[in-house]
Subunit: 441 residues, 2 copies
C-alpha cells in the first residue's frame, strides 16, 4: 500500500471509522439514512464499519424523521473538531464563512479527515484549505460540492489526470436550468417562473446565489482549479440570467439555439485561462442543449481523450447524499489526494479578461419600426468591425419591433463597445442584450 | 495514509516507478508518447518519476515512430514478470488467452502491479485474477478496458460506490455504432458499410468480435460485475447486428426510434441480474439515441443518484492511452482497490434468462401483399397473448411488402414463440426479425 507523500494515517489499523455530521438538513439526514441502509454493503466494500457517532445542528428539537438518539449531540459544530473519538467530519452546513469554515479549518488542524458539500467554501478558500490539509496530514474531500450526483471531481481529478484538458464546463446550476427550460416551454416571464420555482422549492427565497451565477461560478472555479491551475475566484467574469426574456428564448430557438447558463473554462496556447459564467446561446444539436429542467451537465475536451459529456441530477437529497457516500468510501479505502490533485502546487493566477475573447454573439434590440433603422444599426456594427451573419425582425407592438443580430466571431470588447453606441441611437430603446454564442468543445 | 487491508506496498518509499510495456501497437506507443510529453506534469501530480524501463513486442524491427533504444527489450513478454527492476507491468497485447493472460498472471504472482486494457481477459478470467491480485498483494487496474476515454470503471467502482445501482449499460462498441449510423445515413447495406469500415480501419479484418456483440459483452460483464455482483460470462445473452437491415433503420426512424447495439444489465427485486447484448430500438429522444458514429456512451440509474449518461470516444490511440495513464497515476498515488471494488467478494452467479424479461418489441416480416395477411398475423399474435400497439405496411416490391409491428410489453419467450408460428404461415417469407424496444433507465 503506497502513501501519497503528504498524508499519514492514524486509522489504518482500525476496523471502524467514526463519522460526525454537522448540518442536519436534507443532505445530512440523507447521508444518515444511506449509511444505515447500506451498512453491510459498505463494510463489504471497505472492510470497515462506518459509524456515525456525533451530530451537530442548530435545532435539536426539530422533527427530522430519523432517530438521532444514538449520536452524541453538539450545539456548536466546531467542537466536533476536538472530539478525539471522531475520525472524519462531514461538513454539511454550507456557506463560505461562519461555522462551516470554522469547523473545516479546526478539523483539518486537528488532523481529522473532512468531507464537505460546500462549493463556496472550496472555491473561495481552497488555497488556505489545501495548505491546512497538507500541513496537518488531513485529507479533504468535496465530491458533493460540484454537480450533485455527477462524480465531477473524481472524473476531472482522477479520470482525466493523464490528459491535457483544453476546455471544461457546463450547466452547473439546476435552478437556472429549470427557470430557462420553463420560460421556453411556457412563454412565461422570468419573474413568474422564478416565483413558481420558489413555491415548488426549486429556488431559494433569496435566489441571487443561483440566478446571478455565483453558484455556477463556485463550481466552475473548483473544476478549473483541478483541470488547469488555481484561479483567483474574484477574477472570474460572472453574469446571471435575469436579463434573459421569454422572447429571447423564442428568438434563439427560431435561429437554431437554446439558451443555457454556462460556466466554462479554457486554457489558451499562452497558458492563460479563460473562466466565466454567463447565459449563452448553444446550438440545439449540442449535447448541452438537450439537458433541461433541473439536470446538470459537464462537458470537456482533452487533447488525447477527445470530447466527453455527462449529465445527471445536480442537487437534491439523494444525489448529493450519494456523492457524500462516495467520498466516505474513498476515505475508508485509503484514497488520499492533494486538494487539486497535484502534490506540487501552482501559484494562484487571475483568469484572463473576457474582453479579448472572440466568439459569435446574439444581439437583441428593441427599435422603432421605421425605415432606415436597420441601416443605422448595420452602420454602427460595420464601424466597430463587426461582421453580421444574420439580422431578423420580430413583431412586438404597433410601432416597435425586436431586432436580433447574429454576428460572426468578434472580440467581446468590440461587441460591448458596439452595444454602447447602439444604445445612443434615437431609434433604439433601452440597452441591447448581448449573449455569447458558445460552440462548446 | 490508510492501507486497504489486502495490499501492502513495496514502492511506498521510492520516488521512481518503473513501468514495463508489453504490446507496442497504437495504444502501447501512445502511452509511451503521453508519458514522455506529460513527464513533468505527472511528477507534479504524483511526486514520483514514472519511467518506462522495459518493453516487449513481437517485432523488434518494425518502425513505430518512437525511439525504443532506452528501454530493455524482451522478445517474450512473460519474462517481464520476473524482472526485479520493474514495479508495474502494462499489458497492452490483448486476447483472453496466450501471452496476455500468461503475463498478467505471472506479474500478479510476482507481486507486481498490472495495468491492462484487455476487456476479454478481465471479463472471462476476472474471478481468478481477483484471487491472484488479493493473494499476492498485487493491484490490477483496467480502466482502459471499458469504453476507451470514458472513465467508466472509475465512475462505477468509486463514483457510484455509495449508491444502489438499478440499471447500467449503453453503447459500448464504436465499430457497431459506426456501422449502424452509416447504414441509417446512407441507406447502404450492412455488408457494404462493414467493408468500408474495414477499409477505413474502423473495423477489424475479422470483425466477429465486434459485430456479433462479444466485445460489448466483455465490457458489459465488467460493468455488471462492479455494479452488482460477479456474473458467469457464458450466462449472458449475446446477439450482434448482422440481422439489422438499412430498411429496419428507416422503419424504426419513422416510428420514432433509432437502432443501437446495447449492452444492458439490471438488478431485479429478487436480486437476480439480467445482462444481455442485443440490437435495440431506442426512443429517438433518449440520450443514447443521440450518440452516433464511433462514440460510446454509458448510462445508469441509481436509487439515490438518479439517471446519468456519459458519452465520449470509446477507442483509438489517444482515448485509450489517456485511460491507461489515469491508471498509472492511480497506481502512483497509492490507489489500491479490490478488482470489483469489494473486499468481501460474492460468488459468481448466472445472469437470468432473457426469456422471462418483458419489453415492447419491434417485429419486421416480409409478407405477400394479399388480402387477409394482416388478419392471419394479428391472429397469431393474439393467440400468443401479444397485444399490438401498431402495425405498419411498407412497400417493398410488386407482390411483397414489409410489415412492422410494435407490441405492447410482453415476455421475450412469448415473442419468440410467436415468431416461430409466424414463420410457418405461407404468406410470411423468411424469419421475422425481432428487436427489443429498450426504454432505458
Amino acid at each position: 500500500m503506497k502513501a501519497a507523500p503528504h498524508f499519514s494515517d492514524k486509522t489504518a489499523n482500525s476496523n471502524s471509522l467514526r463519522l460526525a455530521i454537522a448540518g442536519l438538513g436534507t443532505v445530512g439526514c440523507g447521508v444518515i439514512k444511506l449509511l444505515q441502509e447500506q451498512a453491510s454493503s459498505l463494510t463489504d466494500r471497505t472492510g470497515k464499519q462506518l459509524v456515525v457517532t456525533a451530530v451537530s445542528a442548530r435545532d435539536r428539537t426539530k422533527d427530522r424523521q430519523i432517530d438521532l438518539s444514538s449520536f452524541r449531540w453538539y450545539d456548536n459544530p466546531v467542537e466536533l473538531a476536538s472530539d478525539e473519538t471522531i475520525d472524519c467530519v462531514l461538513e454539511l452546513i454550507g456557506g463560505a464563512e461562519g461555522p462551516a469554515r470554522d469547523l473545516v479549518e479546526a478539523s483539518l488542524k486537528a488532523g481529522k479527515a473532512v468531507i464537505t458539500a460546500n462549493k463556496a467554501l472550496i472555491a473561495l478558500h481552497g488555497k488556505e484549505l489545501a495548505q491546512l490539509s497538507k500541513t496537518h496530514n488531513a485529507p479533504l474531500y468535496y465530491e458533493a460540492s460540484v454537480a450533485g450526483a455527477i462524480p465531477a471531481v473524481k472524473i476531472v481529478r482522477e479520470g482525466l489526470a493523464g490528459d491535457i484538458i483544453k476546455t471544461i464546463g457546463g450547466i452547473l446550476n439546476g435552478t437556472c436550468n429549470y427557470i430557462l427550460t420553463t420560460m421556453e416551454e411556457t412563454g412565461q416571464s422570468f419573474e413568474a417562473v422564478l416565483k413558481e420555482a420558489q413555491e415548488k422549492g426549486f429556488a431559494e427565497a433569496e435566489p441571487s446565489t443561483d440566478i446571478d451565477g455565483w453558484d455556477t461560478a463556485h463550481k466552475l472555479a473548483i473544476l478549473a482549479n483541478i483541470a488547469f491551475k488555481p484561479l483567483q475566484f474574484d477574477s472570474l467574469t460572472v453574469e446571471g440570467i435575469r436579463s434573459i426574456t421569454a422572447s429571447d428564448l423564442g428568438f434563439a430557438r427560431k435561429l437554431g439555439y437554446k439558451v443555457k447558463l454556462l460556466g466554462m473554462a479554457r486554457q489558451h496556447q499562452d497558458g492563460s485561462i479563460e473562466a466565466w459564467v454567463r447565459p449563452c446561446l448553444v446550438p440545439e444539436k449540442a449535447k448541452l442543449a438537450q439537458v433541461d429542467n433541473v439536470f446538470n451537465a459537464l462537458t470537456w475536451e482533452g487533447n488525447y481523450s477527445g470530447p466527453m459529456t455527462i449529465s445527471g441530477r445536480g442537487a437534491g437529497e439523494g444525489p448529493t447524499a450519494s456523492a457524500v457516500l462516495a467520498d466516505i468510501i474513498d476515505y475508508a479505502q485509503g484514497m488520499r489526494l492533494p486538494l487539486w490533485g497535484r502534490i506540487v502546487e501552482q501559484e494562484e493566477t487571475a483568469a484572463r479578461s473576457v474582453a479579448s475573447l472572440k466568439s459569435a454573439f446574439y444581439v437583441r434590440l428593441l427599435v422603432d419600426d421605421t425605415p432606415g433603422v436597420m441601416a443605422d444599426i448595420s452602420a454602427v456594427l460595420r464601424d466597430q468591425g463587426i461582421s453580421v451573419h444574420l439580422i431578423a425582425q420580430h413583431e412586438f407592438k404597433l410601432e416597435q419591433v425586436y431586432l436580433t443580430v447574429i454576428t460572426h466571431p468578434v472580440a467581446n470588447s468590440h461587441i460591448t463597445d458596439a452595444a454602447a453606441r447602439l444604445r445612443e441611437l434615437n431609434s433604439v430603446h433601452g440597452a441591447p442584450l448581448i449573449v455569447t454564442i458558445e460552440s462548446l468543445c
